[in-house]
Amino acid sequence: MLRRFIAWMLCAGLGATTVWAAPVQTAAAPSGGQLYTRNCASCHGQRGDGGIGVPLALPSFQAGISDDYLRQTIRHGRPGRVMPAFPSLGADEVEAIVRHVRSWNKGPSVAYSKAPIAGNPVHGKQLFGQYCTACHGANGEGAKGTGVTFSRPRDLPIMAPALHNPGFLDAAPDAMIKATLMNGREGTPMQSYLKLGLKEKDIDDLVSYVRSFETQPLGSSATLVKTETPVIIRESPYDLNTTVERVKTAVTTNNFFYGRVQTLEYGMTPPANENPNQVIVYFCNISLLNQALAIDPRVGMFLPCRVSIFEKNGKVQVMSVNPKVLSQLFNNSELNQLCEQLEQSYTAIIEEATL
């Protein structure tokens, strides 16, 4: 009887657990489609038709990649080339996204051997210069224009990827690179190199050269500028109003036009209630803005340019977000030069104003 009672209690307990746990399981297990919508659709399109990212539903893309290529790409991203890594996704979540993306594949699934392909990288380098650099860059750094959306002028839905990139080299085994060279990728400028007249041995040499990127210093397109300090900040020897006027002047002398001055609390409370000791000077350079948006349409979130001035305990400080933070945030190496340039401009403005 006791044994029956314990068994009954255990069953009842398990039953109760199941009943109470049910809402948790429902809420905690989003489908691959939901995960794709949340993490991927903004760049790759809800139906995989591309935009900022690769059109994942493109039949020739689906025919040429393996599930593992997708897994590794989600896990490691493409450093410096917009596609972020997703370290916070669990293995089951990555798998669910892979299954969702692969549901667009109408052909047979491909799996590639991870065995290296032997070839002559010296000859491969010659061939690379002849056949690949026009699209993939002289050093495999990829085509310009990462992150450009269809909302701005664009010739093709897909851009030549950076081959000299640790994310790509981790994700694509030699056999996949070889298959892409042999078959090309219909719907993109990537042609079959067999049809271009190369022999299989030549293609092996090309593959071995691309693989040799792993032993070379990190490609320029995979390198992001780094900064230790999120803000540029200087103390002003002037009172707040004088400092604001000096910032406005410095903005103009550094090739920006001054837009407006507002308190931080502008719009949140009636003007009479705003804290006058927290002021923001907004400014812009439209040509620079257009250039930045052409590189990456998402940079608008840091527009317009701004310098903040505040007074606390009798001290006036002038500061701005360090533009170098952006290069990391956007994972876009094409913003490096612009970020460096903007950091210099912001520093010059702030230092001129507080001189």
């Binding site: 989003p30 719009g267 949140m268 439209i286 608008g300 400080q317 500061m319």
Partner: protein
């Protein structure tokens, strides 16, 4: 703790244990056209107690100087008391405020972008600020989810 509170906390825990998306930027695509998405975005921001302080008209500024651009706005928003309190204690945060969401047209659809408030948390790892950054993060995600639906 009564049953209702216990269920509520269990459900809240379940929601919080959903996928973290602190990778890169907060981004969302909506199948709504830009004007419709813009309306829903503003409504979703207001519904969470924020005041919209400014709509930055990026494409108009570009077009005035003959640069082409599709519809593009930056929406700034904040809560007065919250902003006043946090910047009084941490004036360095003024550089990151008010909060903003960028929205631009992508053909017939719309894309929204924002920085993770948790990114600021990495720069200012003050335990007292973490709940605020976490809430901003959750609010922006919820706002984007509403526009995406």
């Amino acid at each position: 703790m009564n049953l209702r509170k216990w269920m509520a906390s269990t459900l809240a825990l379940a929601c919080l244990s959903g996928p973290a998306t602190a990778d890169g930027l907060l981004m969302a695509r909506s199948d709504k056209s830009f004007p419709e998405a813009m309306t829903v975005l503003q409504s979703a921001i207001s519904a969470r107690g924020y005041t919209i302080t400014r709509l930055q008209q990026v494409n108009e500024n570009l077009e005035r100087r003959d640069y082409k651009s599709d519809m593009y706005r930056v929406v700034y928003f904040g809560k007065f008391e919250e902003v006043r309190q946090v910047t009084a204690a941490h004036p360095e945060l003024i550089a990151f405020l008010p909060l903003s969401i960028t929205i631009f047209a992508e053909g017939d659809e719309s894309i929204m972008v924002a920085s993770h408030p948790q990114t600021i948390s990495a720069f200012y790892p003050d335990a007292a600020l973490k709940p605020l950054f976490d809430r901003w993060e959750q609010d922006i995600e919820a706002i984007m989810d509403e526009v995406r639906e």
